[in-house]
């Protein structure tokens, strides 16, 4: 079972109270972009065994979208942070670097 802290209402929400929203921090490529960029934005997703950054929604709760950094292998949650951010905050990255030395996720390491 996955327990994730919602950064908006502060509850340790159980998995069934949440809805997974896929990979976090995607950069959108729109109509004027190259085919490669658009394909990458539309279809290419990370599928790591280990550290992952995801979007979640507290659907049966405050209804807010937020970000979570977790390990897909152990289900350990490193931290959650609000949706209004384009990259993981430093304190969460520091936590991950300490716990998973040498991790690599897209261009974050």
């Amino acid at each position: 079972m996955l327990l994730i802290n919602c950064p908006y209402c502060g509850v340790a929400a159980e998995e069934t109270e949440l809805h997974a929203g896929g990979e976090a921090h995607l950069k959108r490529f729109g109509p004027d972009s190259s085919d490669d960029d658009f394909t990458g934005y539309l279809f290419h997703r990370e599928n790591p065994k280990g550290v992952h950054f995801e979007r979640w929604r507290h659907v049966n709760g405050c209804g807010k979208w937020f970000h979570a950094a977790r390990c897909t292998n152990t289900l350990e949650v490193f931290g959650t942070y609000k949706a209004q951010t384009t990259e993981p905050p430093k304190d969460i990255l520091d936590t991950i670097r300490a716990k998973r030395p040498g991790f690599n996720w897209r261009d974050i390491a």
């Binding site: 209402c9 509850v11 159980e14 109270e17 049966n60 709760g61 405050c62």
Partner: protein, 190 residues
Amino acid sequence: MSNAALALGGATFDGLVKIEELAGQGMITLRGDLTDKTIVKAVKDVFGVTLPGTRETTLASNMGALWMSPDEALLLCPYEEAQQRGNELAAKLSDAHALVVNVSDARAVFQLKGRALREVIAKLAPVDMSPDAFQPGMVRRTRMAQVAAAFWMDDTNTARVVCFRSVAAYVFGILSASADDASAVNYFTR
């Protein structure tokens, strides 16, 4: 004005707790920045309560405010006054970035009375109902079995559960099953 048509006509169940569909609870949804001084003052003027902090309730006799999310509150008042108080609040907030809607008839409210109410709720919602974790003065928006619901405790013996009117029969059914005399677990001893 016509009488309130309850979803279940005031259904009741007597088991581990007494469950009763409340006859007409006035409910007004307020969306906006709950820390905005204009909004806080308007709510205080019209409903006589201060807006609650995160996951808290402020209740005063038949009025109240419940925290629903950082930008949403549910305001309680007597059913007959809901529309008028909603209009009053909307008028005061006409220049603020806020929305006010009377949702009294869109929801059903159940009252649970009895010492076992923590257990009855704990069987249905993924919420820590121990007396250390959930107390009167707190509100929790969550799910009950398969549908969205919110509940809060008025005192140690009384809780109110709000759900959408369309699932009122379902929620009454699961609450009744959870409160069946033969289903006592007696986990919470306080």
